[in-house]
């Protein structure tokens, strides 16, 4: 069995769990296994001890839904730099070196440069935020991230008036990232946000989850979290943040312009050309649930897209 310590902020399941969550996987399995009096069939899963993170506060950005298990969050990862198999990433990324790490900040910005990660992080107090994560593949999680608002970093480096978009780039290092040895995607991975999206208070740069240092497979040491967009916008292992005048072309837009757009806002009414986005499977649950517009963050972000045809700008 995996011995998992309760996160310190965890609320007792009996206090908050509405009945519809009762039929979730682990409970189903426990009861099914007990029924058959199955002896210890499972073998122990070895997890690397996660490093503790510095102090952080709990923010007001908390959703009242049961957290996805740490084990699931860290063993079901879309991180094509390592593998296209979500369950292989944790193992393949376990020796990935994230220290030392530098981030280039350039483009239309007053203080360009190549910065050590510590220098990037130092002035920013960390906070915990519990966000939904909705993958374009129609599954979702609830993740307690630790990080700081991207807006704070942007203000610090002072983009010029010509900066209309922010472009992010993932590390390109095929020696460490075996997935990059094949041209599944046009490496390195690139993502982008419109400036107002980047400045939005919900947009987070994450360095941890579940109170621990961000595991490699989740995009260590620095990743983007934009909770109202599909997961692939949340670029991982960032080495470059560039301020640009024109809309960047993201990696998935290049890979499938009909299937992946620049905005990639979670939208149950606009389907992926090949599958429906109306519903999603929350990891840990058996049946699908309805997908919420903007992943449930419409109140905060809908005004960013006022007047836009979201079918066209998908």
């Amino acid at each position: 069995m995996i011995i998992r310590s309760q996160p310190r902020h965890a609320v007792k399941a009996s206090e908050i769990t509405p009945p519809r969550y009762y039929f979730n996987r682990r409970r189903f399995i426990t009861s099914a296994a007990a029924l058959l009096a199955a002896p210890a069939l499972g073998w122990p899963v070895e997890s690397r001890p996660a490093r503790p993170l510095g102090p952080y506060t709990r923010s007001r950005y908390i959703i009242d839904e049961p957290l996805t298990d740490y084990e699931d969050i860290t063993h079901y990862n879309n991180f094509y730099e390592f593998s296209t198999d979500k369950e292989d990433v944790a193992e393949l990324a376990k020796d990935f070196r994230t220290d030392p790490w530098t981030v280039i900040i350039d483009g239309e910005v007053e203080k360009p440069g190549r910065y050590h990660l510590e220098d990037i992080l130092r002035p920013h107090p960390l906070e915990e935020r519990i966000y939904r994560l909705r993958c374009v593949e129609a599954w979702s999680m609830v993740i307690p991230w630790v990080g700081f608002p991207l807006a704070d970093l942007i203000k610090r480096f002072q983009p010029t008036s010509r900066a209309k978009f922010v472009e992010f780039t993932t590390l390109y290092d095929p020696a460490q990232m075996p997935g990059q040895r094949r041209r599944i995607l046009d490496w390195p991975y690139v993502e982008g946000l419109r400036m107002d999206e980047a400045m939005h208070p919900l947009t987070l740069l994450a360095v941890g989850l579940y109170g621990k240092v961000l595991p490699n497979q989740n995009g260590a040491p620095l990743r983007l979290v934009v909770p109202w967009k599909y997961g692939f916008k949340n670029i991982k292992s960032i080495v470059r943040i560039r301020f640009v005048e024109h809309q960047p072309v993201s990696t998935w837009m290049k890979a499938g312009p009909r299937e992946y757009g620049f905005y990639a806002n979670v939208n149950p009414h606009v389907d992926h050309p090949r599958w429906s986005q109306a519903r999603e499977r929350r990891i840990g649950e058996f049946f699908k649930r309805k997908t919420l517009m903007f992943n449930g963050y419409g109140e905060e972000v809908a005004q960013l897209y006022a007047g836009m045809d979201l079918r066209r700008f998908f």
């Binding site: 099914a32 296994a33 063993h75 094509y80 593949e137 599944i184 429906s276």
Partner: protein
């Protein structure tokens, strides 16, 4: 052509004494993926998204068994070992078994009997259209797999069961069209199917 059909019945009876172990062995081997799936499910070894894994594994085994079924005839030709023909029907029926599990996973866990949604899916999503079509087309093949049906349908039986080539093609495209980006695995199936169909075309011509 006669021999092709009778291979299942009369010839099968003659060789029954020869390799008695074959059928039970194949029966158990084909059941193994299902047994492992159940064991993994009960011991929580299906990972973060067990439904997806059940769906993928039953889909994989449907295609594998389908291609295995199609490789019996060429294998027998190449090896000259007739007892192989006796397992063809069983492989076909196991294909149907895994296809049914695959479909049920979709029906229950993905859609929970929402027929309206299912119908929309079938119409709108090419990979679902193909998957559903190939499943439906498998039903008459499974239903006419008994000795009695083979006798009753006579020469029509063979025509009907030639549909398996269409089913296999639909099945492979079903897989190809649902993959997000990494096409390696579905292409392996496509390549094997192409080889099996190619062998038949070549046989046909050289006759």
């Amino acid at each position: 052509m006669r021999a092709w059909i009778s291979g299942v019945s009369s010839e099968g009876a003659r060789t029954a004494r020869k390799a008695r172990w074959l059928k039970p062995l194949v029966f158990l081997l084909c059941l193994l993926p299902f047994a492992l799936l159940v064991a993994d499910l009960l011991s929580d070894r299906l990972g973060a998204n067990p439904v997806e894994k059940i769906s993928h594994r039953t889909g994989d085994w449907t295609l594998r068994l389908l291609l295995l079924t199609l490789s019996i005839t060429p294998l027998r030709h190449i090896s000259g070992w007739t007892p192989l023909l006796r397992i063809r029907r069983m492989l076909g029926l196991y294909t149907f078994f895994y296809a049914t599990l695959h479909f049920l996973t979709y029906l229950v866990f993905d859609q929970f009997f929402d027929w309206q949604e299912i119908w929309k899916d079938i119409i709108k999503r090419p990979y679902i259209t193909l998957g559903f079509a190939s499943f439906v087309l498998l039903i008459p093949l499974a239903a006419t797999s008994t000795d009695g049906m083979i006798r009753r349908l006579g020469r029509h039986w063979r025509r009907l069961h030639q549909m398996v080539y269409i089913i296999a093609t639909l099945g492979v495209f079903h897989y190809l069209w649902l993959v997000k980006k990494d096409l390696r695995e579905p292409l392996v199936y496509a390549f094997i199917l192409l080889a099996l169909l190619g062998w038949r075309a070549w046989k046909q011509r050289s006759r």
